[in-house]
Symmetry: C2
Subunit: 340 residues, 2 copies
């Protein structure tokens, strides 16, 4: 590794001269000296040591990112978007992925990132995070952004996808197609969480004056929790008065459901309409192509980085800001007019 000192010795110059010419904005150096320094640096293959610089400047230009191991499919896309957004801001990411459920491991990961002097933290949230811990970090002045799920509390910087209105749009779409009997699997813990998709579902029905039947909403009993196969069968087995549309809580589940529906000899969307949530790369390719809600990964990333940079660049403590990213209804072939 070539250092400034080595270049300085080589040229019989002071270290600070070399440093200043190479990185500084000090313009009043002898043109010839500058030339010699530049030439030597080039020739010797000098590369600045980011660590040393970070130490003295107190800034690493690195953001600690904690991602989720769930939702494989969507997280890849989000991560790439984040990498790009950070790159544009001149930052790199130190990445760890979080295995849900173990809060101790999670804290250890965050401590590790902080020990490495990251300039900020970007945490992808889900139901099983540790918001109290995030809050205490934020209180200590750690620049930090939570990203993904709707805010848990108003006192933390948060970027979130407006899932509620996403599901509202989706439900309205079905209503406009004439569906009146609509079933939905809101997933675990729907009621624990503010701004959950189920709110959008209920609001759309209410506005249309349509009654939602409790038995058309998958409840939380452990036996059927997450059991998409069971849900789909339960919903569709009675021939009369059965739902004409099934709304799944994400695209993966919708695919699993489609499989069951086909096996039952029903046709989508002629007999039943199906919706997902999230819009995976595959969802437009599948058959039938899935009507779903698209979550703009790039915008989410951009806004997250924006919120982070605000905090990092701010002289004093910033008031906490939250950014809502709208989702987009994407209509494809898995939904159609309600059967007569």
């Amino acid at each position: 590794m070539v250092t400034l000192k080595q270049i300085a010795r080589e040229l019989n110059l002071g270290v600070s001269t070399v440093s200043s010419v190479l990185h500084g904005d000090n313009p009043h150096y002898n043109a010839q000296t500058r030339q010699r320094v530049r030439e030597a640096a080039e020739r010797m293959g000098y590369r600045p040591n980011h660590l040393a610089r970070a130490m003295v400047r107190g800034k690493t230009h690195t953001i600690g990112v904690m991602g989720l191991t769930t939702h494989d499919t969507v997280s890849g896309e989000r991560l790439h978007a984040l990498s790009d957004a950070l790159d544009n801001a001149g930052y790199k990411m130190l990445y760890v992925s979080r295995t849900i459920g173990d809060l101790a491991v999670e804290r250890k990961h965050l401590d590790d990132l902080l020990d490495r002097q990251v300039d900020g933290l970007l945490i992808q949230t889900d139901l099983y995070g540790d918001p109290d811990h995030y809050a205490s970090l934020w209180q200590r002045g750690v620049p930090l952004v939570l990203s993904g799920l709707a805010p848990d509390r108003s006192t933390l910087p948060w970027v979130w996808l407006d899932n509620t209105s996403g599901l509202y749009d989706l439900t309205r779409h079905l209503l406009e197609l004439g569906h009146r009997r609509i079933a939905y699997t809101p997933g675990q813990a729907a009621h624990l969480y503010p701004h959950h998709r189920i709110e959008g579902f209920h609001r759309a029905l209410r506005e249309a004056g349509v009654e939602s039947q409790p038995r058309w909403i998958m409840d939380d009993r452990p036996s059927i929790r997450d059991n998409i196969v069971q849900f789909t069968r339960d919903m569709l087995q009675s021939t009369s008065d059965r739902p004409t549309a099934l709304m799944y809580n994400n695209d993966e589940q919708a695919f699993a459901g489609l499989q069951v529906i086909m096996q039952m000899g029903l046709h989508v969307p002629r007999d039943v309409s199906v919706t997902g949530f999230g819009d995976l790369t595959l969802s437009k390719l599948a058959c039938p192509a899935l009507t779903t809600v698209t979550q703009p990964a790039a915008e989410l990333a951009r806004s997250g980085v924006e919120l982070l940079m605000e905090q990092i660049l701010a002289k004093q403590a910033m008031p906490c800001r939250q950014i809502m990213i709208p989702t987009r209804l994407t209509v494809r072939n898995s939904t159609g007019p309600a059967p007569a």
Copy 2:
């Protein structure tokens, strides 16, 4: 930020004493002193500054990872696996994602990582990488592992998935089901690359004494390159003598193909069998569930990290080692007996 110096001053001790008690393995310190130091560190909330330590030790315990932006779906899974594997080895990853095609940007990213003094580099390879550059880094002594695609050259550490035998297995599976007219879209640049899947395809056919028809292999003309819809239509439009099985080069493409097949009024697998490659989370959920080749992400990650650690821990230059990860045939419902 609490430093060792502050603790030392607080306790009227030397910095090195505090350092040694807190991090060192030197056991002969006064039990009472140790206690005092520990207690003070705890009370003052001391956290070691990883940067400072890295500077003096010359090791950051950080690996630079360059991932691909293509194949969103699979990359998320691989990244999580990598994060876990690195975690087990006590390393963190500095992640950048590579936008294919721009070699200059790619080199800049790698330089950035190196400037940050990463202890090694893990690069996900595809057809558009810059192996010459990787080779020059490796020659300079940078611990480095290439991962994903089959090795381009024997002089670089490489972890790769045995795609050739993956496709061999897949083809044999079809042959055993009685298929004789099998079409395949090997993707771009199949012939540029060693150990490509198409080798497995040809080998299986050859062993079974089945002739492959050139027109059943999608060629590289720009007009139809990557055009799955066109390929599928071309293959299936003639009613007689048409392929009874279509092999796509990845799962996404298979899904796109399935869609077209259904639109043509054909049934899978009764009329046509379909295979993918890669095994996405969704592939087992889709309808029909996709017969494909599973690529073990965790093993790939583990072996990559293993190869990296070998180099990092080695006293002198290691001979270059390459590890092949076998793939696994996964039979589901998109393949069935060839129609009579």
